[in-house]
Amino acid sequence: MSNRQRLVVVGHGMVGHRFVQAAVERGLTDTFDVVILGEEPRAAYDRVALTSYFSATCAEELSLLPGGSYDHDAVELRISTEVVSLDRAARTVTARDKVTGTETVLGYDQLVLATGAAPFVPPVPGREHDGVFVYRTIEDLDAIREASHTATSGIVIGGGLLGLEAANALVQLGLQTHVVEMAPRLMPVQLDQAGGSTLVRHIEKLGVNVHAGVMTQEITAGETGSVDGLQLKDSYKIDAQVVVFSAGVRPRDVLGRESGLEIAERGGILVDDQCHTSDERIWAIGECAAPAGRMYGLVAPGYDMAEVVADALLDGPGRFTGADMSTKLKLLGVDVASFGDAFATTEGSLELVYSDAVAGVYKKLVVTEDGTRLLGGILVGDAAAYGILRPMVATSTNPGIALPENPEELILPASRGGSTGGGVAALPDEAQICSCNNVSKGDIVHAVEDGCEDVASVKSCTNAGTTCGSCVTSVKAIIEDHFAKTGREVSKALCEHFAISRAELFEVVKIHGYTTFEAVLEAHGTGRGCDICKPTVASVLASQFNEHVLGGTHAGLQDTNDAYLANIQKNGSYSVVPRIPGGEVTPEGLIVIGEVARDFGLYTKITGGQRIDMFGARMEDLPAIWGRLVDAGFESGHAYGKSLRTVKSCVGSEWCRYGVQESVSMAIRLELRYRGLRSPHKLKGGVSGCARECAEARGKDFGVIATDKGWNLYVGGNGGMNPAHAQLLAGDLDDETLISYLDRFLMYYVRMADRLQRTAPWIDSLEGGLDRVKAVVVDDVLGLGSELEESMERHVATYEDEWAATLADPQKLERFVSFVNAPGTPDPNITFTTERDQIRPENHAGPVVLGTTIPVGASR
């Protein structure tokens, strides 16, 4: 084996790791034994995602090399090993084991330096105090976390990209967070003044204090030598117990300097376009290298350099000719992107700006004088257009893609004539989609043609979206676009037991009249069902036949809330919500609710839907609680079901001096009409008596707003995770037309939507969107109108109160026992303490055995 050579890699960060991967993949290991010396106590990890370490369960989650070794005999990784010197004449490095202190001299035939960069700590007096940190390694984060236990506030010095990441970390650790930046704005390298100001407004909303345009004078310490604050020059002092420096990085080029390699003027080991240093056997890649004298502080150029060196060692033609410094990231939840000539330095360039200070959106395009080519841009608050814009950018070597006739449409919101999505379809195959891993649209399309069917498999085949993740939406759009173009069906299978979608299930149940899960499964499914298809089929059956959800064999299909007709809470107890239609309740009704809550020791809270929620009910107590409520005239509120919840109302024209219609009566009428309707997801409504919209009806799945001529009907509103305003379906309707349109709309949704798809995304998913809904509901183009109305009439006619029916049926009541063999014994795992004069669940670390605790639950 004497003809085998040794390749030594110094540094096992992201770039060092990428180089070794390339070396293995491209067969360098056929001629070389590869030894990697990593200084950190663990193998390479995803430093770009460092902040997510706090939400990760262990450091391993960030690892780029889970398991800690390469699966190749010729590759050896030594961690906790620092290289202390380089002898170019003898072609050796001296490595010191940081654990044992032993030094080893290691010869090399080729040497790759990937030593990265070190955080720059400016010479601020006091920087040696306890409580001052940098932000670079997992060890740094551990130290910051440790210090945060006794701290209340923290300061990040540096408002650049990394500084804001560090600020995010401090926010996650629960510290009152300050960011101090010398420049007059945040991210001065990437953003202009207007973009920076927009970002500041977003970040300050998150409780982070931004101090821009200030100079640091001294980090002050208390008597113990620990940091107590930062004194700003000629200005105020900020109190803090943690200070994190994030004022940029410096190349770690000391091995090169000491061994006499050529160093770039501004630091970094000078390399040529093959990443060759001034020594023919030594290469430098990543942040320690300075191709053409310039250091690149991003991972993507480092990866390119790694590939170039692997290529060069195989006598390949690869060259590193500079890098795209485009950036897109989510900082503290705010989308920020900067690309190309963001500052319009090109002669004659023009700027197109869209700014919405209220929404916190700032978008700028820099275009050529004739407006045909894109040179660069800045996006803050909404960077959705980045995926389309970035490949369009023209550079000195790449003409980019010609701009459309009205380039401003690329940054205008969709409602103002801007284009939405669809952008990826227009991109040429060579357009780069993932800039971190240099993956083009063509690469992704090939992967899809080769059998990758979803984002996850495209990611693992191409590496696209695996580093910063910002291109994942574009990747998804490309896959879908490709499927659409090739006429391939995207799988609509509900789960492994049903190859058909919910809408198709609805149809087969309707056509064949199946009344049980068993029958549907036998005819159209395989296996025995699961937690996805069972509740879905149960809901479809309930929507069409309205049988009791605990009747027949239905009980075992229901999600636990439906299974016990109450809402399960974190400790296994339930909450109870009686229906209060339109939010109107008599004093007697309130007294009954109060008495029930008091007698069963329940926690009470007013809901957002104008009702009262009673928490902490033990499952076995639910029948007794409901016995009292039903006796007093209350019905199930279906707060537990994927079904109509509430129809919220304002006080209406009978009381309100502005009201033009009687909103309370209409809300009650609608709530009583649609109560109990099982649907793909929960449904909420609202009725406002005038245009002031006090019922917030446009935030509901259906919203009705009074006009002086009747009612406007809005659909597809949504609070929750993806808020959406309901859109106008029809205007100035009389009562009867309003109800017939609503019957049609709701039944159409119940039939067509996917499982757990709320009305807003459902409307979006229809070809034609709201126009399609209008065509079906208002213009009745499918001739379905009367059928949909009849379905709703059937629902209304067969409605019964689920709780009253349960109480009347001893068989349905059988399930409401704590233990089958000890029905009178409350579950010892459910216990409560008191807070603000009401109960609250007590947490348990593990199973509780009866006899070891005294349950202090609801008084009986």
Binding site: R528, C533, A563, N821, N829
Partner: protein, 122 residues
Amino acid sequence: MTATLPDHTTTDEWEPVCRLEQVPAEAGVAALVRGEAVALFRDHRDEVYALSNVCPFARASVLSRGIVGTRSGVPFVASPMKKQPFRLADGVCLDDEAVRVDTWDVKVDGGVVLVGAKRTPA
């Protein structure tokens, strides 16, 4: 809290808990076995299983209220809290094999479900 109690895992007694028909088909029911909340399940072949009723993710005594189904033919229960699937045969979480809930020996004799010793994982 369990440290003060005698160790039950070595018991060789079979405790009669309920009749087979009290465990609903392809569903579950909770039982109190030697002071502990145990979830009994019956799959489509009338096989009966005994798992701890406490979901280790939610730390709540709720597993018996989960939906029972199959994944690639393997019977499992989905925690009613956040749907984590647990294999009925050995309590192992199908999405994270490092997590498992305790299981007990269980048999049906003359239509009566009997729960035996808590099993020690292999």
